[in-house]
C-alpha cells in the first residue's frame, strides 16, 4: 500500500464517521456564523424534529410498518415533562428520563396487539391512538390545561447554566440530534439493522432465517416512541409552553412526510427531509397556508411513484439503471 492508498482506504472505510464529524464541526461554529436568534430557532426546531424523524424512519424503513400517530408520542413526551416539572416540581432532566421510560412502556403495550396488524389496519390503529391522546390533552383541562395548553415549563440547565437562549439550546438539541443520528447509523449498518431491513422486505423469508419478526417490530417501535418522547420533552423545555395543536394527526403526517422525502430507511435522508419540510414555509408562504394538504400530496405522490421515498428512490432508480445496463452488456 502506498501512503496515498492508505489515505484513500482510511477515508472510504470511515466515510460515515467522517461525515458525522464534519456535520458536528459545522454545527459547532454555526451559531457564531449566523448569530441571528430567529434562524437559530429554526435550526433548533429541525434538530428536535430530527430526533423523532430518525426514530420513525427506523420503524417505517426497517420494520416495513407505517405509523400515522407518531405525534402522539411526541405529545406524550412533551406533556409528561411539562406535567412532572410544572405540577410536581421535578428536575427537568429526571422528568425527561421518567417520561421516556413511561412512553417506552406505553408503546410496548400498544405494540403487542397493533403490530400484528399490517397495512391499512395498522395505519388506522396508530391514527386512532393519536386521536385518543389528542382528545385527552384537549378535554382533561384540569391537568393538561386543555386547548390553552401549559405554560411556565422550566428550561433545562446544565452545570448550573440554564439553557434558556437559542444558542445554548442549539448546542443541546444538536448534540442530542447528532448522538441519535450516530446511533441510528450504527443500528442501520449492524447485523440487527440488516435483520430489520429483511423483515421490511419479506417477513416469511426473514423468519425462516432465524429472525424474530414480531419481536423485531416491537423493539424498533418502542425505540422510535422513546426517541419521539425525548424530542417532545426537548420541545417543551425549549419553548416553555405547549398546547395540543402541536400533536395532532396532521403533525403525524408531517413526520411521515419528512421520512418519505428523505427516503425510507435512510438516516441521512431524515436530516434532509426534516430540514426541507421545516425550511420550506420560510421561503414559500403559500406552503404555510396549505401545509396539511401539501404534506398529504407529497406523501401520496412520492409513495405511488417512488415507494422507497424521494431521495433514496431516485438514487435506487439511477443505480438500477446503471447495473441493469452493465448486466446486459455482460450477458
Amino acid at each position: 500500500m502506498t501512503p496515498r492508498d492508505r489515505i484513500r482506504y482510511f477515508f472510504s472505510s470511515h466515510r460515515t464517521g467522517l461525515s458525522v464529524c464534519l456535520l458536528a464541526l459545522f454545527l459547532l461554529v454555526y451559531p457564531a456564523w449566523v448569530g441571528n436568534p430567529y434562524l437559530l430557532g429554526i435550526s433548533n426546531l429541525i434538530a428536535v424534529y430530527l430526533i423523532a424523524v430518525i426514530g420513525l424512519n427506523l420503524f417505517i424503513g426497517y420494520a416495513g410498518q407505517i405509523s400515522l400517530g407518531h405525534a402522539a408520542y411526541l405529545g406524550l413526551g412533551a406533556y409528561g415533562s411539562a406535567l412532572l416539572t410544572v405540577h410536581l416540581g421535578i428536575n427537568p432532566w429526571l422528568a425527561m428520563a421518567a417520561t421516556a421510560v413511561a412512553v417506552g412502556l406505553t408503546a410496548f403495550l400498544v405494540a403487542i396487539p397493533t403490530l400484528r396488524l399490517s397495512g391499512h389496519y395498522l395505519a388506522m390503529a396508530t391514527l386512532g391512538f393519536n386521536i385518543v391522546c389528542y382528545t385527552v390533552m384537549m378535554q382533561w383541562d384540569r391537568v393538561t390545561g386543555g386547548p390553552s395548553g401549559l405554560a411556565g415549563i422550566p428550561h433545562l440547565s446544565l452545570a448550573g447554566v440554564a439553557i434558556d437562549d437559542e444558542t445554548r439550546f442549539h448546542y443541546l438539541a444538536w448534540g442530542a440530534a447528532i448522538l441519535v443520528l450516530t446511533l441510528g447509523l450504527n443500528l442501520a449498518r449492524s447485523s440487527l439493522g440488516l435483520a430489520l431491513a429483511a423483515v421490511a422486505q419479506n417477513e416469511t423469508a426473514a423468519a425462516s432465517l432465524g429472525i424474530q419478526v414480531h419481536r423485531a417490530k416491537i423493539r424498533i417501535f418502542v425505540l422510535s416512541a422513546v426517541l419521539a418522547s425525548v424530542a417532545g420533552s426537548l420541545f417543551a423545555h425549549c419553548y416553555t409552553f405547549i398546547n395540543p395543536d402541536s400533536f395532532t394527526i396532521f403533525n403525524s403526517v408531517e413526520l411521515v412526510t419528512m421520512v418519505v422525502i428523505g427516503g425510507l430507511g435512510s438516516i441521512w435522508g431524515s436530516l434532509f427531509g426534516a430540514s426541507l419540510i421545516i425550511l420550506l414555509p420560510e421561503f414559500l408562504h403559500f406552503f404555510e397556508t396549505f401545509r396539511d394538504i401539501i404534506h398529504g400530496l407529497i406523501v401520496v405522490t412520492v409513495l405511488i411513484l417512488l415507494p422507497q421515498g424521494l431521495v433514496s428512490g431516485l438514487k435506487d432508480l439511477l443505480r438500477m439503471r446503471l447495473l441493469r445496463k452493465a448486466n446486459n452488456a455482460r450477458n
Binding site: S191, L194, A197, Q201, A207, R219, Q308, M320
Partner: protein, 254 residues
Amino acid sequence: MLEIDGISKHFGGLPALEEVSFRCREGMTTALIGPNGAGKSTLINCIAGTLNPDAGAIRFTGRRIDDLPCHRRPYLGIARTFQNLALFPRLTVLENVLAGLTPEAEQSFVKSLLRLPATRHRERLLRLKAMAMLDNFGLADKARWPASVLSYGDKKRVEMARALVAGPRLLLLDEPVAGLNGAETARIAMEIRRLHGAGLTILLVEHDMDLVMTVSDHVVVLDGGRLIAAGAPQEIRTNPRVIEAYLGRMSVTA
C-alpha cells in the same frame, strides 16, 4: 434425522396433506416428487415452520419441532429455499447471504446501537464468510448489486448460498432448478452432488427427473396430499402407482 409422522394440513377444509409419514436418513438425499398441487411445498413449509401442520408430529434429531416457532428452526440447523424466490430485493447480494448468518450475528439492540469494536470485528468475520460462500457460487463479483437486478438463475443461486452459509444440518430445497436453462441446471446439480458428497442431509423437491434420479438415495411420492410410494429411485421409476399418478399430467421422462 428427520421424521415426518402423520402430518396433515388443510386449507379452508380442503386437504393439502393427509397423514403423510416418511423419514429422511442422515447424510442422504431424499427426493420428494409428485404432480403440481400434490402438497410438496406445503410439506416443506411445515418442516421449516412457515406453516403449522394441523395434525401429526415432525421430529428432527429425535426432538419434536412442529410446535417450535419458525425462527427457532435455523438455530437447530434447518435451512430452506423457496419455490418462488424469496430474496430481499433491495438488499445487496452480499446482504442477502449475510441474512442467512442471523443465528451467528449480534442480537443485542444496545450493542448494535453502540457498534463497539468487538461487534464490528464479529461483523467483519461474518462478511468474509458470506463472501466466501458467494465465491463458491460464482457470485462474488455481484456482491454489491441489489438482488432485484440479478437474472433469475443468479437469484436461485443466491437463495442456495443464503441457505447454506450458516452450515445447516438439513437442507430443504423446493424446486431449485425450476425455470433454469440447461447450463444453470447443471451447475446447481453439481452443487447438490457436492453437498451430498460432503454428507449433508437434503430433502429435495424437484420435477426434473434426471436430477432426481442421479442425486437421490430415496424417493418419496406425493399425490393429492397422500403419500403413494416411497423407495429407491429405480423402484419408483417403474412403480405402477407412480406412473398412474403422473399419467396425463406430466410424463416421467428419464
